[in-house]
């Protein structure tokens, strides 16, 4: 097993765990955590393809991931703010009860 494969396997596992969490949990913050996990799995992939790819000396992959993490932070902040707003409005953070956008 090459190091790249190991990395990819871990990242896939991480993605699967994050997805499972995001899909199954009812609490909004836990769902958000799941999403963060999936995002980090993607970041791990990016690092892995950079590190074991054709040009590891260029810092492109690393920089890309840094940007991605910054965005993830911002996204988490927005997500949390939304969740707080919803909680204030509906007095709940159970996602099953938040279905205003139902068709």
């Amino acid at each position: 097993m090459t190091p790249l494969q190991a990395c990819l396997l871990i990242s896939a596992l991480l993605f699967a765990i994050g997805f499972a969490g995001a899909v199954t949990r009812r609490h909004a913050i836990l769902v958000l955590i799941g999403i963060e996990l999936m995002l980090n799995a993607a970041n791990l992939n990016l690092i892995a393809f950079w590190r074991f790819g054709a040009h590891p000396e260029a810092l492109t992959g690393f920089i890309f991931v840094l940007f991605s993490m910054a965005m993830a932070g911002a996204e988490a902040a927005v997500g949390l703010a939304l969740i707080i707003a919803i909680y204030r409005h509906k007095k709940t953070s159970n996602l099953d009860e938040v279905k205003e956008l139902k068709g």
Binding site: F19, V23, T24, V31, L95, D96, V98, K99, K102
Partner: protein, 704 residues
């Protein structure tokens, strides 16, 4: 330019304003109405005298003629002028119309004193005078036509003044429609004239349609049958004159028009309206006479003038014979007017403007006198118009009798002293010299005989013998006027003399009926010289020239014979009762019946024109109802059928299909919207499953 020419418009404008003011005033203002109308006429008369004075003293140096025109309305690139002219013809007519009109107005104050619609009457009278004066001053066929139609309208209003009488309403309609036929000719002639010459001005410093250049152009063009355009236009214009002046075959309205109040009859049938036709022919005389070969003596002969002469001559004798057998005092005068208008036309045809106009002027005075006299008689006899029920009025109404006798003698043409003699003699004199035919002369002489005869008959029946009005006084229905006399019931039924307001105008008119003749005698042809602008001198020897003397002698003989016959038949042997047969009826029942029924002209029209008209109307109605109506109905049914079809397709195909489609779409949308649960995690799951499916698909795809 003399001030009077510029201000000539005032003469018709004054009565127009008077009519307007009367019309807008509150109803019972009799004094105001009468004084306004009479005042406007009096002022107009003074102005007319000024105009007349301006035209005097031009003998020998051509005709005095001043025009005043200004552009009125624009047709495309051309301006239509309108304006007035002052020449002897206008001046003499102005003086006559305003003077006679004024006297008639004054007379009306007395005659209409008891009428409720006194103000309306004076309003119409003033409007009528205004229209008539407009006709007289017009230097433009357009202005003339406008005024001409005002005259036509007001004559309709005045004849139908007592419109609650069905006969009056019918007579008004008859007058209006009959004259309309002539007016159509006039209108066509007018339009044609405009098309030919580009102007409707009579005189315009060489460019007018009656002046040499325009006449030459019109003569050069020929139309159907080789007639020059000028002749054709002249004849069309003459058609208007025929309608207005009651010439054959459009004379039928004039006797019926006697249903109007008597002053109206005097105004319309003596002085003005009927004279308008003669005046029109006199006005367009240059057009009528255009193209005649130059003649040394006598008058030009053209096709148009020949037609005028014949129509006039036939009308003269035709109407005179009818007058012999009429019993209504006003109808006798009406037929007499028709006959005298025939003389005027004949005079215009054979002798030119001066001859016809001279008779017009003298006739205006004595016929107005006769009509107003008959009004006085009718008034005095309590609205009785049937001469058989009068008689012996000499005793009751001496003033009326005297002036009526003057009028009668003037109309009959009693020699030397009365105006009618001189003017009629002038016509006969020219007729005897006419180069085309002598027949109009003989017709005129015979007409003169009848004229003397029927006037004597009328005098005999009305003024001599004994009063026959007492019989069956309560039974007859002539009283059915709104014109009721409240005091009449307690009065005796004897006739009475009319008040001074009625007799004074009569006396004045009688004076003129005598005196006017002397301005146009062969010895002193002032009138002729005045109108033609030629030199003349007092020459007593002309009276005794063999030709003139012989003619005067003949004419006098005819008159004496006519009067003698009348005296013999109606003066000596007076009828005893009103219902007794007429002398002529007893002698010649067939002829009398023919004359009494006016040669059955009305019946002939009834059987031909009216029936044809009714048939045409029926035909049009039929066509309208079945042919055009059918077509319209067909179109309607087609449209309705198509509409029904469209509705069907719309309802059952378009709508249903659309509805079904919509329903399906909505259900589909509803179904799909179920997927949209609003639960974020469900979406996420779907995305996850889809991702897995996509990956599986990609992997399998790679393998294959």
């Amino acid at each position: 330019m003399i001030w009077i020419v510029k201000n000539l418009w005032l003469i018709p404008a004054l009565p127009l304003f008077a009519a307007g003011i009367i019309a807008v005033n509150k109803q019972p203002a009799r004094k105001l109405a009468a004084s306004l109308a009479i005042g406007s006429m009096a002022l107009g008369f003074l102005l007319s005298l000024c105009a007349f004075a301006a035209t005097l003293g031009h003998h020998g140096d051509g005709v005095f003629r001043e025009v005043f025109s200004f552009p009125w309305i624009q047709f495309g690139g051309q301006w239509m002028d309108i304006g007035w002219v002052l020449d002897p013809l206008t001046a003499i007519m102005l003086v006559m119309v305003t003077f006679v009109g004024m006297l008639i107005f004054i007379f009306s104050v007395g005659y209409m004193a008891h009428d409720q619609n006194f103000m309306r009457f004076f309003c119409f009278l003033a409007l009528f005078a205004s229209g008539m004066l407009g006709v007289v001053i017009a230097n433009n066929l357009l202005l003339l036509f406008i005024s001409w139609e005002i005259v036509g309208l007001t004559s309709y209003l005045l004849i139908g003044f007592w419109y609650h009488k069905p006969s009056a309403a019918a007579a008004a309609k008859k007058a209006f429609i009959t004259t309309r036929i002539g007016d159509l000719g006039l209108l066509i002639g007018m339009v044609w004239l405009y098309a030919e010459t580009g102007t409707l001005n009579f005189y315009d410093g060489g460019h007018g349609c009656l002046e040499q250049s325009a006449l030459t152009t019109m003569l050069a063009h020929a139309t159907i049958g080789g007639l020059a355009v000028s002749t054709a236009i002249g004849l069309l214009i003459f058609l208007g004159a025929v309608g207005k002046s009651g010439q054959i075959p459009l004379h039928v309205w004039l006797p019926d028009a006697m249903e109007g109040p008597t002053p109206v009859s005097a105004l319309i049938h003596a002085a003005t309206m009927v004279a308008a036709g003669v005046f029109l022919v006199a006005r367009v005389y240059p057009l009528m006479a255009a193209g005649a070969a130059p003649v040394e003596h006598g008058t030009p002969v053209t096709t148009a003038l020949t037609v005028v002469t014949w129509i006039g001559a036939i009308t003269a004798i035709f109407a005179a014979t009818i007058a012999v057998a009429q019993n209504d005092i006003k109808r006798i005068l009406a037929y007499s007017t028709v006959s005298q208008l025939g003389y005027m036309m004949m005079g215009l045809g054979v002798g030119g403007v001066a001859v016809g106009m001279f008779h017009l002027i003298t006739h205006a005075f004595f016929k107005a006198l006769l009509f107003l006299g008959s009004g006085s008689v009718i008034h005095g006899c309590h609205e009785e118009q049937d001469v058989r029920k009068m008689g012996g009025l000499k005793k009751y109404m001496p003033v009326t009798f005297a002036v009526y006798a003057v009028g009668m003698l003037a109309l009959s043409g009693f020699p030397l002293l009365f105006s009618g003699f001189w003017s009629k003699d002038e016509i006969l004199h020219h007729a005897s010299l006419w180069s085309v035919s002598k027949i109009p002369f003989y017709l005129g002489c015979t007409g003169a005989l009848f004229t003397a005869f029927y006037m004597t008959r009328q005098m005999g029946l009305v003024f001599f013998g004994s009063y026959r009005g007492h019989e069956e006084k309560s039974a007859h229905g002539h009283f059915a006027h709104a014109h009721s006399h409240p005091s009449e019931t307690d009065h005796s039924h004897d006739p009475h003399e009319s008040p001074a307001v009625m007799t004074v105008p009569l006396i004045i008119l009688a004076g003129f009926a005598i005196l006017l003749g002397f301005v146009g005698t062969p010895a002193w042809p002032w009138f002729d010289g005045y109108l033609t602008g030629e030199e003349f001198k007092f020459d007593f020897s002309k009276l005794t020239e063999p030709g003139t003397l012989a003619l005067m002698g003949t004419s006098a003989l005819i008159v004496f014979f006519g009067i003698g016959l009348g005296v013999f038949l109606y003066g000596k042997r007076q009828r005893k009762t009103a219902s007794e047969k007429d002398v002529l009826e007893a002698a010649q029942p067939a002829i009398y019946k023919l004359l009494e029924n006016k040669y059955f002209i009305d019946e002939i029209y009834e059987a031909t024109v009216i029936r044809f008209n009714a048939f045409a109307a029926w035909l049009c109605d039929f066509a309208d109802q079945w042919i055009f109506g059918g077509a319209v109905l067909l179109v309607k049914y087609i449209t309705v059928g198509l509409a029904w079809l469209y509705r069907l397709t719309d309802e059952y195909f378009v709508n249903l299909g659309f509805d079904t489609g919509c329903e399906a779409l909505r259900e589909g949308g509803g179904g799909l919207s179920k997927l949209h649960t609003g639960r974020v995690q469900t979406y996420l799951r779907v995305i996850g499953v889809a991702l897995v499916a996509l990956i599986i698909f990609l992997i399998w795809g790679r393998k294959a």
